[in-house]
Symmetry: C2
Subunit: 441 residues, 2 copies
């Protein structure tokens, strides 16, 4: 299946090209004389005294570069916080590099600079806020009564107590001065335009980077209830417990809710999402002569199990031409999870590919590719893997590997390292989660 | 969503009607004067002296009834083995009821009668063999050197040692006088027509009811290797261990392989399968005005995880009209599994529905139904369950139930018992595994 493999790789490369954050920003905004067009909304730049650019996230540097190219000297100044080694040369916008996923003092420093910049803005100003994956760890500013180490201890306790991610976020938002709409609060009364590159399934703007510029429906009361629910009263720092309770009785300002005045002059635009990745994969597959089907951009759950469902569809296509006729390209995306039970090395995409390989084994003419659009998969140097109907048999015969055993010990990286079926791109400076592609002929 | 729920139920009822084994048999065979047409193959009944009907499986009585209706007095005699209380009044064909899933002496008695009947057949005779789910436990005849209790001990050891189902079947086939093509051996040199109602994902004829009438590619040597692989030499009865090793050195006749003379005058027809269930669901959904998509008839894996993938597609349809426009009916089938971790009561379809309910919660206008076509789901009196976007919220508000907790302790039956969302049909006398339907408006 050299052709199927070649085509799957070409489709993935096309997806990465289409996800270039600079291009994505330019597709959503444009400028004609003094008219600034953001999606379908027009702004007359003559009405604005100053334009500031702020933001945080791993992909913010290329997004900022696009804004500089479009608005040039109309930008007064700006500050963005990106992950170490994720900066780019910019003219007007200061880039501060900081730690991700564990926040550090540089993140606080950069966020302070942003808040201090925003404190000067007025109702004749425009603020453009750039948000992408990782923003939650990079845009970090503890409430003045608490410290970053205290927040980190609280996060760690929440993570191991079995709390759901939305519960953890509710607590985090209420310990921060920037998350949960508070960056919008700081920008008020300026006009605020937020451009988001989404790395969360379903593109929920209140969750991506902890929603710094959109309404937050959770409350201090909710946060206190979560602490009680998991019996963390005595496990989290006293300062945090006291702070949350002070918030509950109204001594600390709540995060802004829907309908709040501060959101009146705001616009929020998703410039890139998993769905865009899937659509561009579809376009390339059609060019290559495949019939296509996009299943969903909302795939979640255990990687190896999602792979079984995906493989079941590929096998049905192979057998009956349902739900799409051959030659077919089946496309899905999202972000799965791996429950680690073994001591191997891998990532969710590599595990997905290995599980799929076992299910398509022997069904001729099927290729499955799974890869992360950010270029990294788990704690490995691989982006993902590509497998076909012969992967498992080859592994057994040529390399004396037992695929089931590699899968059962979560050792997909070492499996593909031996079979040579890794996809390796290096970091891509973009991130809209993962894409899974199956070609069936 | 009263309409969506009503329609989902109507679609499932239509599926059950279409799966009536009597109707399924009549769709594949017909008779015109002396021409007996089986799928596309013609048999001139004038060329046959005697016609015998044999078989085993839970759905064999209605299948036999269809044969009696078609061939009437042309049938000389016959014997089928069905599960207790699964018999029907027949004129020419003797019905023996036996135990399932644990075989008993009645199963052996019935199988002996079949083998004794077949021993009389010659090359001027026709044998019609009816196979359906459960046939492996009902058609049971230990090799004459070993006993049923010894086989049962071996099966139990294999089941708990971690052996795969195909490995367990390899051993079982070599301990039997009827599985793995040996019923075809007994029918030889008659013309043999096998009609199969498939209850196995992908309809593999060598696995359904342990393939009594089709070639078996596994060997005594394979069986011995499996015993060694799981270090069962000292754990299984001595008689079994000795018997398998005697087979390995050629002292006992192998199961017949592909190309064997005995398969020359045989025809094997799948009269019913999961795909037929999905196609009939599609037909009814189209009649009700839905756009339809059949995803796959090969769904396997952990129920709750398969449900997440299925729900991700339903939500994508709801959001974007991909991969099918609303109002949409999404159809899948197969057989998932439940890894039991809690102490609750449930079945794979109820667990699928509960997991899906959590994922579609709050996404308006989505209904998900999951049900077993045999009318039973796990060790419960329910067939499956039907859920919608409000299921979880209703459960919380009206009944003070926590859906996540019911799911985590595998207690889907008690959850739906309280919300009143069970589907209950009672046993259907048919079985082509499960069907999952989502309606999205």
């Amino acid at each position: 299946m050299p052709n199927l493999r070649k085509h799957a790789n070409e489709i993935f490369e096309h997806v990465l090209d289409a996800l270039n954050p600079e291009q994505l920003v330019k597709k959503k905004i444009s400028i004609h004389d003094s008219t600034f067009l953001v999606e379908k909304r027009e702004y007359n730049l003559n009405n604005y005294e100053n334009i500031y650019v702020v933001g945080g996230g791993k992909a913010c540097a290329p997004m900022a570069s696009a804004i500089e190219e479009l608005l040039g000297d109309r930008i007064d100044s700006g500050v963005i916080v990106v992950k170490y080694n994720h900066g780019l040369p910019l003219r007007k916008i200061e880039t501060i590099e900081a730690s991700h996923p564990i926040p550090d003092e540089n993140g606080i420093k950069g966020t302070s600079k942003i808040l201090s910049l925003l404190s000067k803005t007025g109702n004749k100003d425009m603020v453009i806020c750039l948000i992408s994956g990782g923003g939650s760890a990079l845009l970090v500013q503890p409430h003045k009564e608490i410290t970053l180490p205290a927040i980190q201890t609280t996060s760690a306790k929440l993570l191991i107590c079995g709390a759901r991610i939305d519960e953890i976020n509710t607590v985090r938002k209420h310990l921060s001065s920037v998350k949960g709409g508070q960056l919008a609060m700081a920008s008020y009364p300026s006009t605020l335009i937020t451009l988001i590159l989404s790395d969360v399934v379903g593109d929920p703007t209140d969750i991506i980077a902890s929603g710094p510029t959109v309404p937050d429906e959770s409350t201090f009361e909710d946060a206190c209830e979560i602490i009680q629910k998991y019996s963390l009263e005595d496990k989290i720092p006293n300062s945090i417990y006291r702070f949350l309770n002070n918030g509950k009785i109204g001594k600390i300002e709540e995060t802004p809710k829907t309908g709040n005045e501060i959101f009146k002059n705001t616009q929020t635009v998703i410039v890139g999402s998993n769905r865009i990745a899937l659509k561009s994969a579809e376009k390339k597959a059609i060019d290559l002569g495949y019939n296509t089907i996009i299943l969903s951009s909302l795939v979640e759950g255990e990687s190896r199990e999602a792979a079984k469902f995906f493989a079941a569809i590929a096998r049905e296509v192979s057998r009956t031409g349902t739900p799409v006729l051959k030659p077919a390209c089946i496309i899905a995306g999202g972000e799965t999870t791996v429950t680690i039970k073994g001591k191997g090395k891998g990532g969710r995409n590599q595990e997905f590919a290995l599980s799929a390989a076992l299910k398509i084994s022997g069904c001729d003419g099927i290729v499955v590719l799974s890869a992360g659009t950010d270029g990294t998969d788990g704690p490995t140097d691989a982006t993902g893997a590509i497998v076909d109907s012969n992967t498992c048999n080859n592994a057994k015969v040529k390399f004396r590997l037992k695929p089931e055993e590699y899968l059962s010990r979560n050792d997909s990286y070492n499996f593909f390292n031996k079979t040579g079926e890794h996809i390796i791109t290096g970091p891509t400076l973009t991130n809209v989660m993962d894409i899974m592609i199956s070609l069936v002929k």
